[in-house]
Symmetry: C2
Subunit: 341 residues, 2 copies
DNA sequence: ATTTGGCAGATTAACGATAACATATCGATA
DNA sequence: TATCGATATGTTATCGTTAATCTGCCAAAT
């Protein structure tokens, strides 16, 4: 019952080759004879050798780790993305390290430090609006990175996100086409480009329908999150001076439907409900949510871009904007005709 | 525009102290004079120094990383747990590294290797049944670890999980008390103790109600997952020779309800539905799911245990079993009285 | 005045792996 | 036969940090 970790030295002594030769054998260096390589690899396996990444990375400069920095893990969107990233990165022989901001923007800087400190080979980053300064760290330390899901003003960097303006526009034109004239708009908490862009697109659709901003009551993200946490989302509904609700993400829609149901309002007969979910169309709700989504995977594309950039740092910055669509579930309908707001 | 990483050497040259002194200053070593310490810390900050974890860990043996190995991230259960773990670990100055098995059991061994290779300070592990051998790696390499959510036979190690036998029993007695006599039991894919234990408890409740195993049709986990992936869960429902469904996790229940609804079966009027969710009672469904849960947090307790163990490897192994309760949502009711199965 | 002890900081040697370079062997070629 | 090049392996230096040990200095104690 030997204890503690086996090192190259141990293997070297056990099979008579130098540490260097052992190291090369374990990395499948083709300059070694097949016999030597196999002998060493077998010995290593028998002894239960596990390479020390810390040492290896220190010397070689490569850690085989990619970090992804996310807002929080309560959002199923993100979790699905993370899963996909993990899969794709593992195929390319990288480990994914998930770093979570816990909705604390100040933590972002620290997490970027952590990632750099770990000598990660690349970073996938969901930036918020006010985090542009942190990006400098990555550039200064020459860490390849890709920005996901959000736009950061005045930054020249790889970037993949959804067409949020178009998303907001689709939501708006869908509702106005059905005849809605008064809206409740529930925002998300993050100060992200998604917020701004979706609202822009939404308002443009209203303008095209001859409506003004007056028709929209906006609930700030912080109120939404607070209400969610307190399980009191019902408060946000009053006064019911609207016939349609636009909610920032699908997950808000579930408690929302419960709250509407409790006060006797039926979806979509009395109130229409539409939300955004850049990631997938499937929804467990009954009726299924009408939702804005994209067919493509930010995770897949983001990982691909990062792999390319890690491979060649001199590539020009790329900007990918994914088209969005509307999934017409069962939560939108024309407003009740007897309504008079 | 300086590039690449600043090292202790750079700081050392910039402020005239040796690397060692710089290193100590940056670690708040009390043996240094306050003046020196501040001078060095300020210089480091100005120069944008970021400690190299790889080097630091190599020398010191501590990485400040804790790894958690999970089955997959599509399960909101796990994501909630991970979030909590991350929070608690960060408070204790550790980074959480999430390693995902992607439902591929063989990957577990590799992930444990990865964790050890990274010199993590501890491992939180959701083991499956057939993974007991892998645990040896952790013991051999003296990595502190805690087993979560599942029981592994014949292993003497820190362990926190729910009382799954009791959970199965609660589900069973709840349904038999309502008058149900025929059941459909949807399993989860993992070969975990939860599976076995819940079924044990469930069957015991049936026996106490004078029923035998014959009353239960069991759908294997692999079929459930396949159906979920193909979006064809409806297939599993036939023939409808039961009045109650027990599903292994809440997330299966949503598509299930949709499928029942589509074929004109109402929950709970025609079919009762109960599921397990060790983690939280809140459910977005309408009506809310009747579900087995626990008030306590496996994440919180698991992290606490791991911190204690990392602090003192000589502690005796501890075994914590959390009590479970039933949340009576709206998805169970007496069976239709005209039924004759 | 000499010893003692503590403090601030320097010197040196690792941690484990790998890159860069050097060497030895052998067959092929001039 | 002497030289060359390819192949297979050994030597040495180093990645950035920290642990272990040591030195010099000054104040307090004898």
């Amino acid at each position: 019952m030997k204890s503690s970790r086996i090192t190259l030295k141990d293997i070297s002594m056990a099979c008579g080759f130098t540490m260097n030769t052992v190291s090369r054998a374990l990395r499948d260096d083709p300059h070694l004879s097949a016999a030597t390589r196999e002998l060493i690899q077998n010995t290593a396996r028998e002894m239960g050798y596990i390479r020390n990444t810390m040492a290896s990375s220190l010397r070689s400069g490569r850690s085989h780790i990619v970090a992804v920095i996310v807002n929080d893990l309560h959002n199923q969107h993100f979790c699905d993305l993370l899963n996909r990233m993990d899969l794709d990165l593992r195929k390319a022989d990288y480990n994914l390290m998930i770093l979570c901001m816990q909705l604390d923007n100040a933590l972002a800087e620290k997490l970027i430090h952590t990632a750099i400190s770990l000598s990660v080979d690349g970073i996938l980053y969901f930036p918020n609006f006010d985090q542009a300064p942190y990006l400098e760290y990555m550039e200064k330390n020459r860490v390849p990175f890709v920005l996901l899901d959000r736009r950061v003003p005045d930054i020249q960097a790889d970037n993949v996100r959804c067409d949020d303006v178009q998303g907001g526009y689709l939501a708006g034109s869908h509702l106005t086409a059905l005849g809605h004239r008064r809206f409740l708009f529930l925002s998300g908490i993050e100060k992200s480009s998604s917020q701004v862009d979706r609202m822009d697109g939404f308002l443009q659709a209203l303008r095209e329908a001859g409506l003004s901003e007056e028709c929209v009551r906006v609930v700030p993200g912080i109120q939404v999150e607070t209400a969610l946490a307190r399980n009191s989302i019902s408060e946000l509904l009053d006064p019911v001076d609207y016939t349609a609700i636009v909610s920032f993400r699908d997950e808000v829609s579930y408690p929302l439907m419960n709250a509407l149901h409790e006060r006797g309002l039926s979806v979509p007969r009395d109130i229409s409900l539409i939300s955004f979910d850049n990631l997938r169309a499937e929804t467990p709700a009954l009726p299924p949510l009408t939702s804005i989504y994209t067919d493509e995977s930010i995770a897949e594309i983001g990982v691909k871009m990062l792999l390319e950039r890690m491979d060649d740092a001199s590539l020009p910055a790329r900007n990918v904007i994914l088209p969005v669509k509307i999934f017409e579930g069962g939560t939108t309908a024309p407003p009740p005709h007897n309504i008079n707001l």
